[in-house]
C-alpha cells in the first residue's frame, strides 16, 4: 500500500515536472535565449560575411571575451541620429499618451454614467476596433489625412481653409494614429475603475457643499487614479517602440526608434547596430514596465 502510494506520488511529481517544464522550456528557448543573442551581437563587430557580424563564440571563451567591446555603443553616441530618435520617440509617446487620456477619460466617464442597459453595447463598441486589423486601422487614416484626403476636402468645402493642410508625413499624423489605435487601452482600465466607484461618495461630497466640478476633481479623479495610471502605461509603453504608425503616417518627417531599428536591420543590414538600438530601447523601457507592474500589483492588493 505504502509502496503504491509512493509510486503514485512519484508519478504525480513527474507529471508536475512535465507541466512546469514544457512552458518554462519553451519560454526560455524562444524568449530569454534570443535576448542574450541580441545582447551578444550588440557587442560584436560588423563583418561583410553572412550573417553580417563577426561570430564571437567559435574561437573559445577567452577570445570571445576579448573580441567583445562597446564599440557599437560608442558608435551610437557619435551619430546624433540615434539619440535624437530616442528623444523624439519619448516625446511622441508622451504627448500621445496625454492626448489619449484627454480623449479617453471623458468617454470612459460617459460610459460609466450611461444607463445600465446600454453599457454592454458601449463596451463592445470600444472593444470591436481592437479585434480589427491594426494595419488596416492605421491605413484608414492615409485616405483621410493626405493632401487630397477627406479631411482636407471637407475643410475646403466648408471654407475653414483655403489651402489644403499638410498633415500626412508629419508628427501630427503620428499623434492621431497612436491616439486612434491605442484608445481602447486607455478607455477600458479607466472605465473599470469608474464603474467600481461608489456613487454615494460623490453624493456625499455634493451634500457637504462641493460643487459638481469640485466633487469630480476631489473625489472621482483620485478614486480612478489606478485606472488612469494603467491606461497611460498601456498606451505609452507600446507607443515608444511603435513601427507601423510612424512609417505609414509619419513618413520621412518623423523619427522614431522602432523605425530606425527596422531600417537599420533591413535596409542597412547592420545587425550589430540594430542590436545595440534594441538593447538601449529595452533599458529605457524597463523603468515604465516596472512602474506599471507595481501599479497592477497595488491594484490587485486593494481589490482583495
Amino acid at each position: 500500500m505504502e509502496r503504491h502510494g509512493r509510486r503514485l506520488a512519484s508519478a504525480m511529481n513527474l507529471r508536475r515536472f512535465f507541466l512546469i517544464a514544457v512552458p518554462y522550456g519553451w519560454l526560455l528557448a524562444l524568449f530569454l535565449v534570443p535576448f542574450f543573442i541580441v545582447f551578444k551581437i550588440s557587442l560584436s563587430d560588423l563583418a561583410l560575411a553572412i550573417p553580417p557580424y563577426t561570430p564571437t563564440m567559435k574561437d573559445g571563451i577567452g577570445q570571445m571575451l576579448s573580441a567583445f567591446d562597446f564599440e557599437n555603443f560608442v558608435f551610437l553616441t557619435t551619430d546624433d541620429l540615434y539619440w535624437k530618435a530616442y528623444l523624439s520617440s519619448l516625446q511622441i509617446a508622451l504627448i500621445s499618451t496625454v492626448l489619449a487620456l484627454l480623449v479617453g477619460y471623458p468617454m470612459a466617464y460617459g460610459m460609466a454614467r450611461a444607463p445600465e442597459e446600454w453599457r454592454p453595447t458601449l463596451m463592445m463598441l470600444v472593444i470591436l476596433p481592437f479585434w480589427t486589423s491594426f494595419l488596416i486601422r492605421v491605413y484608414a487614416w492615409v485616405g483621410i489625412l493626405s493632401n487630397e484626403g477627406f479631411l482636407n476636402q471637407f475643410l475646403l468645402w466648408t471654407g475653414v481653409i483655403n489651402e489644403p493642410l499638410t498633415i500626412m508625413n508629419t508628427t501630427t499624423a503620428v499623434y492621431i494614429g497612436i491616439v486612434y489605435t491605442y484608445l481602447p487601452f486607455m478607455i477600458l482600465p479607466i472605465y473599470a475603475a469608474l464603474d467600481r466607484l461608489d456613487e454615494s461618495l460623490i453624493e456625499a461630497a455634493e451634500d457637504l457643499g462641493c460643487s459638481r466640478s469640485k466633487a469630480f476633481w476631489l473625489v472621482t479623479v483620485p478614486l480612478s487614479r489606478n485606472g488612469i495610471i494603467a491606461g497611460c502605461f498601456l498606451v505609452f509603453i507600446p507607443a515608444l517602440g511603435e513601427f507601423v504608425i510612424p512609417s505609414l503616417l509619419g513618413g520621412s518627417g518623423t523619427l522614431m526608434i522602432g523605425k530606425v531599428l527596422f531600417e537599420e536591420f533591413f535596409n542597412n543590414r547592420d545587425w550589430p547596430v540594430a542590436s545595440v538600438v534594441a538593447v538601449i530601447l529595452l533599458l529605457i523601457l524597463i523603468v515604465p514596465i516596472i512602474l506599471f507592474q507595481r501599479n497592477q500589483q497595488r491594484q490587485a492588493e486593494s481589490d482583495t
Binding site: 504525480m12 460617459g110 454614467r113 454592454p120 470591436l128 486589423s133
Partner: protein
C-alpha cells in the same frame, strides 16, 4: 440617478465617431468605381473582382490562416499549462523568472521580439518560413492566453477540484472533468485572441519569414506603402466584415449563455425549496 448630461452624450458621440468614421469611410470607398480613392465616381464592386482574381493575395491569405490556426492552437495548449502552473503550481525553483517571462512579452516592443527571434533562428541555422513564424507567434500569444486563463482560474472555487480528487479522480481526470469545463470560456477566448494576434501581426512576421512565405499583413504592407489603393480597401472591408460578424455573434452567444445560466440557477433554487 444617472444623469445623461449633454457633456457625457457629446463626448461619447464624438469619441465613437472618431473610432468608427475612418473605418466607415474605408468601407464606403471600397465600392467606389474610380481608381482615385478619395473621389466618389459611382457604385461598383469591380475592386472585389480584381481582388479575387489576384492570386498573390489569396496565397498570402492561405499562409496567414495556416500560421494562425497552428500558432493559436499551440499557444492555447502552452498558455493554459502556464496559467495552471502560475495559479496552482505552488512554489518551484525559478517561479519569479517564469512569471516574468509570461508578462514581459505583453509589453515588449514587436521590433525587439522580432529581431531577437530572427537572430535565434539564424543562429540555429533554421530555414525561415511558415514554421519559424508559427514558433514566433506561439511564443508571444501563449502569454496572452495564459493571462486570460489565469484570471479565470484565480476566480474559481478550488474545493470543486479537491472534491473530485477526494472522490477518487486522478489529477488528470479532475482537470479534464472539472477544471477544464469551468475554464473553457477563458480557453476559447484565449484561442480567439491568439488567432487574431497572429492574423494581425506584421512586424514579427516580417522578421521571421523567409522569401517563400508571405503573410497577408506583409502583402498589405508592401501595397499600402505606395499609398491608398482600392483593392486594399476592398480587402479591408472583407476583413472588417468578418470581425464584426464574429464579435457580435460571440457577444450574443455569451449573453444567451448568461441568461440560460441564470434561469438554471433560479430553477435549481426553486427545486431546492
Amino acid at each position: 440617478m444617472r444623469r445623461a448630461s449633454w457633456f457625457n452624450v457629446t463626448s461619447l458621440t464624438l469619441g465613437f465617431a472618431f473610432l468608427y468614421l475612418p473605418m466607415v469611410l474605408l468601407v464606403i470607398y471600397s465600392f467606389n468605381s474610380s481608381k482615385l480613392v478619395t473621389v466618389w465616381a459611382g457604385f461598383s464592386t469591380q475592386w472585389y473582382g480584381e481582388l479575387i482574381r489576384n492570386d498573390a493575395f489569396l496565397d498570402a491569405a492561405l499562409v496567414t490562416l495556416k500560421v494562425a490556426v497552428a500558432s493559436s492552437t499551440l499557444a492555447t495548449i502552452l498558455g493554459t499549462m502556464a496559467a495552471y502552473v502560475l495559479v496552482r503550481g505552488g512554489r518551484f525553483a525559478g517561479r519569479t523568472l517564469f512569471s516574468g517571462m509570461i508578462y514581459a512579452p505583453l509589453v515588449m516592443p514587436e521590433v525587439i521580439t522580432g529581431l531577437s527571434l530572427l537572430l535565434l533562428f539564424i543562429g540555429l541555422g533554421m530555414d525561415r518560413g511558415v514554421l519559424t513564424i508559427v514558433l514566433a507567434h506561439t511564443t508571444f500569444s501563449m502569454c496572452y492566453v495564459s493571462v486570460v486563463v489565469s484570471s479565470r482560474l484565480v476566480s474559481f472555487d478550488r474545493s470543486l477540484e479537491e472534491a473530485a480528487l477526494d472522490l477518487g479522480c486522478s489529477p488528470f481526470d479532475a482537470f479534464r472533468l472539472v477544471t477544464l469545463p469551468i475554464i473553457a470560456p477563458a480557453v476559447i477566448s484565449g484561442w480567439l485572441l491568439a488567432f487574431t494576434l497572429s492574423l494581425d501581426d506584421l512586424v514579427i512576421a516580417s522578421f521571421t519569414t523567409g522569401p517563400s512565405s508571405t503573410t497577408l499583413p506583409i502583402k498589405i504592407w508592401s501595397a499600402v506603402r505606395l499609398g491608398v489603393s482600392p483593392e486594399i480597401n476592398a480587402l479591408s472591408t472583407i476583413m472588417i466584415g468578418i470581425v464584426t460578424v464574429g464579435v457580435i455573434s460571440a457577444s450574443l452567444i455569451s449573453k444567451r449563455n448568461a441568461v440560460k445560466a441564470q434561469q438554471d440557477m433560479q430553477a435549481a433554487e426553486r427545486g431546492a425549496t
